[in-house]
């Protein structure tokens, strides 16, 4: 019998080189890839939006977002991803599609997206300047506040973007989910856009 190893590789496994990139000096942008997460798309069935919200409340203890927002619980983030649908982002297998199935029976359809996306956290005092090159939406601190989310595009590629809690140093944090097969390409575009500000690159196993 042959020996297998089912080791996982993130879509950025090859492209991400931890360290610094671009202009020397204090890095204006920090990029962190967050690896190995569970992500489930929850879509309300026809006429069942209210039931889905109720089911989410029961399961997560908070209301699922009905407008473009991301809400956090202790161990998950619920991120709006379209009308009557949201993503459940978590780590550690507590909220896998199997774990959630029972909660949404009859109210929503679930689709596993855990492997369909890469998750990149972008922060730093030049994060907005860099994102302005890629995103057509207004990320002004008063317009895109902590917890704001958007289903949008970067570089003609669909993404989900939401603003996390500010870093300890007060700098903003933007989380970005990109389709896995586009991830390497977008990553290079991000690096290209960020190079003039200086970049620090890391990866993490933890949700921010």
């Amino acid at each position: 019998m042959a020996e297998f190893s089912w080791d996982v590789r993130s879509p950025l496994d090859r492209a991400l080189i931890a360290g610094s990139y671009g202009a020397q000096g204090d890095a204006g942008v920090a990029l962190t890839e967050i690896r190995d997460f569970d992500l489930v798309q929850v879509m309300a069935r026809r006429g069942k939006a209210a039931e889905m919200v109720k089911a989410a409340q029961a399961r997560f203890g908070i209301a699922a977002p009905e407008t473009p927002k991301a809400v956090d619980t202790a161990d998950t983030a619920l991120i709006w991803s379209g009308p009557d649908q949201f993503l459940v982002l978590s780590k550690g297998g507590k909220h896998t599609i199997e774990a959630l199935a029972a909660a949404f029976v009859g109210s929503a359809s679930l689709s596993d997206q855990s492997h369909a996306r890469a998750l990149i956290s972008i922060s730093g005092d030049k994060a907005r300047a860099m994102l302005a090159k890629l995103s057509s939406i207004d990320l002004h601190p008063d317009k895109f506040r902590v917890g704001a989310a958007a289903a949008t595009s970067m570089d003609h590629t669909s993404i989900t973007l939401w603003r996390g809690k500010d870093r300890a140093d007060g700098q903003p944090v933007f989380n970005l989910l990109v389709f896995a097969t586009f991830a390497e390409s977008l990553w290079h575009t991000i690096l290209d856009s960020a190079a003039e500000y200086g970049v620090t690159i890391t990866h993490s196993e933890k949700l921010a």
Binding site: A2, F4, A23, D112, H140, T181, S185, T189, S193
Partner: protein
Amino acid sequence: MRGDQANRLNNGGLIDRSAALNFRFDGKTFSGFKGDTLASALVANGVKLVGRSFKYHRPRGILTAGSEEPNALVELRSGARREPNTKATTAELYDGLEAASQNRWPSLNFDVMSINQLFAPIFVAGFYYKTFMWPAKFWEAIYEPAIRRAAGLGRAAGVSDPDHYDKAWAHCDVLIAGSGPAGLAAALAAGRSGARVVLCEEDFVLGGRLLADGGTIDGLPASEWIARTLAELSAMPDVRIMTRTTLFGVYDGGTYGAIERVNDHLPVPPEHQVRQRLWRIVAKRCVAAAGAIERPIVFAGNDTPGVMMASAMRSYINRYAATPATRIALFTNNEDGWRTAETAIASGLQVAAVIDARPDVSPAHRALASKSGFPVLHGAVASVDGGKGGARKISVSLTGGARAEVEADGLAVSGGWNPAVGLTSYHRGRPKWRDDIAAFVPDGAPPGMVAAGAANGAFGLGACLREGFEAGAAAARDAGCSGNVGSVPVADDEAFSLTPLWHVPGKGKAFVDQQHDVTASDVELAQREGFESVEHLKRYTTLGMATDQGKTSNVAGLAIMAAVSGKSVPETGTTIYRPPYVPVAIGAFAGHHRDENFHATRLTPSHHWAAEQGAIFVDTGLWKRAQWYPRAGEKDWLESVTREVKAVRSGVGFCDVSTLGKIDVHGPDAGAFLDRVYINAFSSLAVGKARYGLMLREDGIVYDDGTTSRLAEDHYFLTTTTAKAGLVMQHLEFCRQVLFPELDVQLTSVSDQWAQFSIAGPNTRDLLKEIVDPAEDLSNEGFPFMGAREVRLRGGLKARLFRISFSGEMAFEISVPARYGEAMARNLMVAGKPFGVTPYGTEALGVMRIEKGHVAGPELNGTTTAGDLGLGKMMSTKKDFIGRVMAGREALTAPNRQVVVGIKPTDKAHRLRSGAHIIPKGETPGPGNDQGYVTSVCFSPVLDQWIGLGLVERGRERIGEIVRAHDPLRGEDYDVELCNSVFYDPDGGRQRG
């Protein structure tokens, strides 16, 4: 000519005399200062001859001090960074700058092509339309190449642009174009209101005309007021001031285009930085405070070097402390022009005379003239003598008919001012005429935009400040910002009295459009020949089509047309204003998207593994797919592909097919939904089964195909072709949201969730047994052909397994979550080693599908019906589905349609090529017997010959017929046999076994 800034004043100017910069023009070294433009540095060095004109190669100097410059165009920089047609008047000086004059040979001073001037009597507007017609063949061979070589201006680098560009978005409440008094006042008011403000200034310093003309604002000298204002604006966190940035276009929904010259003031951009950045600015309101452009008066010799706009002369003297001439004459038809005389005197220059076309001159100016000892001549400049060395003598027609001559080496001209109506006219608003200033002012501006200050025809400083301030305050208010705007900056309003004068009749060439060499008589000729509409005038004479887009010439041209056609200027009207306001580098519009970054790249989950294996990749849409896996010693791709096919057909191979579109279709009505989008039924599909489905467009033509499996009562897993994945998703969402909203169905793309591999060949089951948990029944009974279900793999991982075959072999497709994709490829190699497992690429996949007669992209070409593809029987007659009705139209069901058929050369050694046409034997090829063509070909290792599929008229009725494959493009014509499209295992025993 001396290289030591002989024409630099000892004091004054906004230049940094501590920062001397060396530069080269036409190979000669000069020096200038930080704060200079190339033009001002040339002026300071006494350089008058800067370029040659487009058609007549006339010597030209510097006419203006801004982006409206028609004459002083140079090739800036060298080598790969050479930029043709760069305006010396806006090129910021840097140390080491290199510039060369253009459109001359062999040199600027001695230009052979100036011989064109001798032919000027023939080279009138539109002359080329009337000749060069005979002999017909001579146009491409002789005339046109000569014309092309003579035309054009500068030379492009001719090699790849080494610099980088990017693009960015900005958002604001109030966008302001221009930082003159109106723009700064607008920014103050809007900023104080609390609005988010973006102010764009094309210059590298803020201030606009204040920089040259000064003035007193709020009791402060203009320079101090600018500094104070800048300090106040800089303290506002939501006010963004962008210098070196030109707002060039207005698009829909409050979207504006701007170009930022980030590093054009440096020899090369610093590392990691771009040369230029394209901004898309989204603004709720926009204040167009782009100022006005002083207009020339058309008279003979008005293109002589040394003739300069009066305001430009002030700019060179006051802003740059550079004197364009030592003895200056002024020709004006308005009060404002006199400022140049004042400036000249204040700077210690001689004023030779003021020629004023108006009947009266103010007492103050008359007093100035007598005090300074220069004559005031009532009349107009009739001609200028001088050549490439510059103006020498000016002859004047005095009111009343007498003539006078004035000796001067510089002539300042002011014909009044034209508001910069470009931005406000880009939504096809036509500017309206104002008699009092004899100029067009904005009208019909795009929604949300308002003009203020000189751009709106308000020429006094006080008025500019008031209009700008009010416009800024109103814009902020409209955008919902209500902070206290404070008080409006105050300044006096200068008088502006003007008597319109466009053209001084006389002998000699009088230029309207200096860059394109359009003369007043060209305009008259156009009128005579019926090109009286301003658009005809423009097109016939090329007036206003040069790199300055007629900023200094259009209004004069149409005024002259108005005069000769007996109409008023407003009746004559303007041409359509089009963006960009200034020419913008194509590279900036492209930004990051060039070379390998032109489009995004999608990588399959096993990409890096395949790369390790040495795979050759092919672009398929955005995807990189492994095309084949060459091995040492293989002489070409065909040998590799043939090996891969043989390995699959005799053993087992696998191929990453993750590029297929994959869609989760959920919901109680999922089956009913699929019944409507596919021609065949899916509601009847049993859970655990897969079925091939065909989708039509509503016009009855085949759209896409793929296998769809039912994983649960309310869950289907649909696959699409690689090419159509995104479009099918969009189409299905349209069906779900628009056409059939009553159905309870949900769609999610899971294309990226699953790494999917096709495993094919007689040993497939043996290999799978190594991978799949032994508890799973993979026998023909336990997992029959077209079965589909979730299985557990060794190690516990869950996967989806589909018993489907594209190759015609015993085959499965297996899906694992994508992050396991690479491990899957490695594990298949390990597990398959005993069976000789072979990874195969898209070429082998294609070979096997052709051998099997499966249709793909070349056959699903957007014009074929299900019947054409031999799939007509799949069309259900028991239900409605997209495309059902239109598929029944007569021409789509005609018996003589071209249908899919197999094709093979009768000579087994002959290669078959796609794109060859099918012609009946014994006939001469022509449109009447062109019966179809070869769509797909491959070398079939099984048949040991080239085979293919084709679309051939009545093909299925003609199996066995020998026809010609006619391929004149490749010089081939050979016999082929029409045959059954399934070349391999026609009864399908292998895939079912």
